[in-house]
């Protein structure tokens, strides 16, 4: 990763952080953007903030509207789906820590 400009990656990189709180692989989950109506899977979102973390921002690949935020904290995962406020904090199972 270039230190001077961190490009966005795609939602495939969310598979690891989200695997701790989902029983099925979440990257195939599908939605239609409420702003531009473009359909996409979590795997197709444009994800900013990867690598160093802790906050990951997933955006619609069509219009860049906010689709989810995930914050990986030791022992917890914060997950905000959609573009509003009010994330859920999931405790991570001990085996996932």
């Amino acid at each position: 990763m270039n230190q001077l400009s961190v490009p966005h990656l795609d939602g495939n990189v969310l598979a690891g952080p989200l695997a701790d709180v989902f029983a099925v692989d979440p990257t195939t989950a599908w939605h239609r953007c409420p702003t531009c109506r473009m359909p996409s899977s979590i795997g197709e979102l444009h994800v900013y903030g990867t690598g160093p973390g802790p906050g990951l921002t997933g955006r619609c690949p069509g219009c860049a509207d906010l689709a989810l935020r995930a914050v990986a904290q030791p022992g917890h995962l914060w997950l905000q789906i959609g573009n509003g406020a009010g994330a859920f904090r999931f405790p991570l199972p001990h085996s996932a820590r």
């Binding site: 230190q3 001077l4 400009s5 961190v6 966005h8 900013y48 903030g49 160093p52 973390g53 802790p54 906050g55 921002t57 955006r59 860049a64 906010l66 935020r69 995930a70 914050v71 904290q73 917890h76 914060w78 905000q80 406020a85 009010g86 994330a87 904090r89």
Partner: protein, 199 residues
């Protein structure tokens, strides 16, 4: 010893004293963003300060740059663990801007051109320790670093120094911002390692 990855040290082992806990020093200036970089021409730029009663004051780019300018040299600390020493900025002290609007509120929400928000206690913005900056190292602030103008609040983690800022809104309640509502600490003091909500 964890038994895993022998000899891996991370980058936290140098620069004692000026380095908050869990940070490593960097010479480069990493860019961390939560979305595409907005490009705001200075002729379209403005900054608005609004009180809790709705009273507001707006500065154009010319008006802002005509205010008394300061040139802070400060250390900055990002929650992604890098710290950068002796960074040189130019801009306007937030005392100068905030005193132009009458308010009894104790908190401020900073709002940016890309929709980003962050919340701050007023006492962290006053007392000559926070700025609206428009140049870095003697050059106009690049868009990827928050240009044309960003906040500079070096005593807090750098996510509080909102890039592309366009408004400061006084609030009587503390209103969590973009990251604060998703698990980041409300205050974000790097010396107390206030990274997450319950740190």
């Amino acid at each position: 010893m964890s038994g895993f990855s022998p000899g891996f040290r991370g980058r936290t082992h140098a620069f004692e004293g000026r380095l908050p806990p869990g940070q490593y020093p960097t010479e480069s200036f990493p860019v961390l963003s939560a979305g595409p970089t907005p490009h705001v021409p200075t002729e379209d730029w403005s900054l608005t300060v609004t009180s809790e009663t709705g009273e507001s004051r707006t500065w154009s780019w010319e008006e802002m740059t005509a205010l008394p300018q300061q040139h802070p040299t400060v250390d900055i600390h990002c929650v992604t663990r890098w710290s950068k020493f002796d960074t040189r900025w130019s801009g306007v002290g937030l005392d100068t801007l905030l005193e132009q609007v009458e308010s009894d509120a104790g908190f401020v929400v900073a709002e940016s051109y890309d929709g980003y928000t962050t919340n701050l206690p007023l006492e962290d913005l006053t007392g000559n320790k926070a700025w609206l900056v428009h140049s870095f190292d003697g050059y106009p602030l690049a868009p990827e670093h928050g240009g044309p103008a960003r906040l500079l609040i070096p005593h807090l983690y750098f996510w509080k120094s909102a890039k592309w800022v366009r408004a400061l809104r006084f609030t009587t309640e503390n209103e969590p911002g973009f990251w604060e509502s998703a698990g980041y600490h409300d205050h974000g003091d790097p010396w107390r390692e206030q990274r997450y909500w319950n740190d």
